[in-house]
Symmetry: C2
C-alpha cells in the first residue's frame, strides 16, 4: 500500500503490529495473524525529504522487492484507492478486483518491441469466481505516475479498456512477475476521472470513505483467499 490514510482502517481491523523494515528504505511494515494465516501490510512509508506518503511506481518497486526477498509471500495484493470512470459504470466507493492483466498508461515507447514492453500487460490472479461471490466489480487496472489524466494517457487507457486507474499496481505486478509471486490488485474508487469535479478535489473529499470501503472488502477478499490453495482459485 502507498498511503497511510488508505491503510489505517485495515491496520486497526487486523490489530496489526509493527515489523522491523529494511533500513535505510522508508518502508513501514506491519504484521497480523488471521485465521491461521500470516499477513504483512507493507506501506511504502513517508518520503524523508517531502514528508508525504511515497506514492508512485519507484517506491512501489522497492517495497515489493524488499518484501518478496524477505518474506516470500504466497500472494501479493496491491491495495489502495484509485480513479474510476462513469463511462464504465464506476461509482465512488466501488471496490474493484483486477482482472486479466494490469497495464501502464504513461510509458509510450514507439520503437519495435518496446511499445508492448511499455504497456506491460502483467498477469493477475484469475478471481472472477471470488468477485462474483463477494459482489465486487472486476476489470483491467492501469497505472501511471500522475494523479490527472493527460490526453496521451486517455488514449492509452481507451486502447487498453482499463476501468480503474492507480499509481502503483502495474509496477508491483512487474516485480511479482520476475519473482514468480502471484499478484492481484484491489482498488477502492475515490474519484471519477470523467467527472467535471477536479480529481484532486474528489480525492480529498472521498479518501476516508473509500479507505474504509477498501478495508472492509479487502478483509472479505483475504478471508476468501486464506483457506484456498492457489491452484483452486479460478
Amino acid at each position: 500500500m502507498a498511503m497511510e490514510a488508505e491503510a489505517s482502517s485495515l491496520l486497526d481491523s487486523l490489530s496489526a503490529v509493527v515489523v522491523h523494515g529494511t533500513p535505510p528504505l522508508s518502508v513501514k511494515w506491519f504484521s497480523a495473524e488471521r485465521h491461521g494465516a500470516e499477513l504483512l501490510v507493507a506501506l511504502n512509508g513517508r518520503d524523508r525529504r517531502f514528508g508525504v506518503d511515497s506514492i508512485g511506481t519507484d517506491a512501489a518497486v522497492l517495497n515489493t522487492y524488499a518484501v518478496i526477498e524477505r518474506f516470500h509471500p504466497d500472494v501479493v495484493v496491491s491495495a489502495g484507492t484509485a480513479g474510476g470512470w462513469r463511462r464504465s459504470g464506476g461509482e465512488i466507493g466501488d471496490v474493484y478486483v483486477s482482472d486479466r492483466h494490469v497495464v501502464h498508461h504513461d510509458r509510450r515507447i514507439d520503437l519495435p518491441g518496446f511499445s508492448e514492453y511499455g504497456i506491460g500487460r502483467y498477469p493477475v490472479l484469475s478471481l472472477q469466481n471470488m468477485a462474483a461471490q463477494l459482489g465486487l466489480k472486476i476489470g483491467i487496472v492501469t497505472t501511471g505516475n500522475s494523479l490527472d489524466e493527460s490526453e496521451p494517457d486517455r488514449r492509452m487507457i481507451m486502447a487498453s479498456g482499463a476501468v480503474v486507474k492507480d499509481m502503483e499496481a502495474a509496477s508491483v505486478a512487474y516485480v511479482c512477475l520476475q519473482m514468480s509471486t502471484p499478484f492481484v490488485a484491489v482498488k477502492a474508487v475515490t474519484d471519477l476521472v470523467d467527472d467535471h469535479t477536479p480529481t484532486a478535489e474528489q480525492f480529498n473529499t472521498n479518501l476516508t470513505m473509500a479507505s474504509r470501503r477498501l478495508s472492509e472488502e479487502l478483509l472479505r477478499v483475504i478471508d476468501w483467499l486464506i483457506p484456498r490453495e492457489l491452484a483452486q482459485l479460478d
Copy 2:
C-alpha cells in the same frame, strides 16, 4: 545502464567480464578493473517476455537497489543515451554530465506536498570542475517513461530548465539517495527533441555513434574520478 547497445563499446574497452547477477532478476552485471579501482557495469538486462532491453524506471530501480545492496559502491553513474534540445544548444553526440539535480517530468501530482515529491529534484555530485576540465556539457537531467515528449511533459521540462531527457536517471538517483550513495548521470545525445525528425527515427540513426561517444567520455569521467576522494570532488 539500460540498453546492451549503449554498453557494448564500454564493455569492450574495459575488457569487462560477466559477474553472477541476482536471479531471478533479469539484471546483467559485468566487472572490470581500471587503475586499481573496481568497476561494475550493471545492465538492466533483457525483459524475458518481450525480448527487449529493460528500459525505464521500474527496471532501473530494481537494478540500482540490487547493486547497492550487494556491492556498496562509492559512486553510482546512470549512463546511457538521451534526448537533447536545439534550444539549449544540444547536438547529436554531445555528452552531458548531470548538474544540480535530476527530476521527473511525468509525475504530475496536484496535491499539497506531492507536486514536489513527484518532481523529485534528487541531488547529484557536483562535477562542474571535472566537466570544465574534460570539456563536457553540464545541465539538469529529466526522466520520463516515454520516448516522446507530450505537451504536459514539455511544460514540466520548461519549468525545470532541464537540457537532457532520459528514461532512468531520476529513479536511479531516488534509490541512491535512500541508500546514501553518491550519484551522477552521464548521457550521450541520440536525438534532439525539438527537431522536426521523429525521435524514434533519430534514435535509430544515431544510437551507435552516441553509444561510442558515451563510452569514450565515460572512460574519461571514470579516470578523472578514480584517483579522487569524494570530499575533494567539487
